[in-house]
Amino acid sequence: MSGYDLHSLILACDFGVDDVDQMWKWLKKHEDGLASIGAHHVVRYTSIWEPRRVLATMGNRHARSIRDVLRSPAIFEWFSISGADDIPPIFGGEVVEKLERFKGGGVRKIWVYQALDEVAARQWIDHPDAAAEWMSTAGLGAYPTQFVGRYAHLMTVGEKV
């Protein structure tokens, strides 16, 4: 949603949560911890198929070291409070493009995130027919299945009035 400019550092992950409301309360309570690792926004989407599955994205102010952010106690505790014993793979990248070319088809926004560590294949954007092939590999290995959900909450971090 709002708050992510081009080249913002983004962490994204979808995972199962025992109690979504409790997780969100915990996040608000530990806002300082999130701010200390450079977070400026956390956005939560809720799956339309699985109520306890969420997609969370976190925008960071600086890419000082993505590895320092990932191994910070706040991230581990976030998963622990969510009830996730196993830590899922996390996407780390930056916003490289915001597209509006599919508006005619009812798609409101497409944001392209490019991984910091791997060259993302984005051929399907220019050749949408290839999307079917790309999607067929979702859910294999480290890659999660497609997430279809609704925007639930936006939390602005570190802007207390």
Partner: protein, 65 residues
């Protein structure tokens, strides 16, 4: 995708280790460190191993036809 938060190991790095012969999460940990610390990423490591052999087995079947 980052799979091991403790070491910052990526799925790309782990996949290379698996392509080079690692068949267990222990062997992956020995080769690149992923999963050696807190161990909470081992399920993902096993998924990467399974996916590697699944893809390779499909490729072998296609070649055999």
């Amino acid at each position: 995708m980052f799979v091991c938060l403790c070491t910052g190991a990526t799925s790309h790095a782990v996949s290379e280790v698996v392509a080079n012969g690692a068949k267990t999460s222990k062997q992956i940990a020995e080769a690149c460190g992923a999963g050696a610390d807190c161990g909470r990423c081992r399920r993902t490591l096993r998924a990467i191993i399974e996916s590697h052999f699944q893809v390779n087995s499909c490729a072998s079947e296609s070649l055999a036809r």
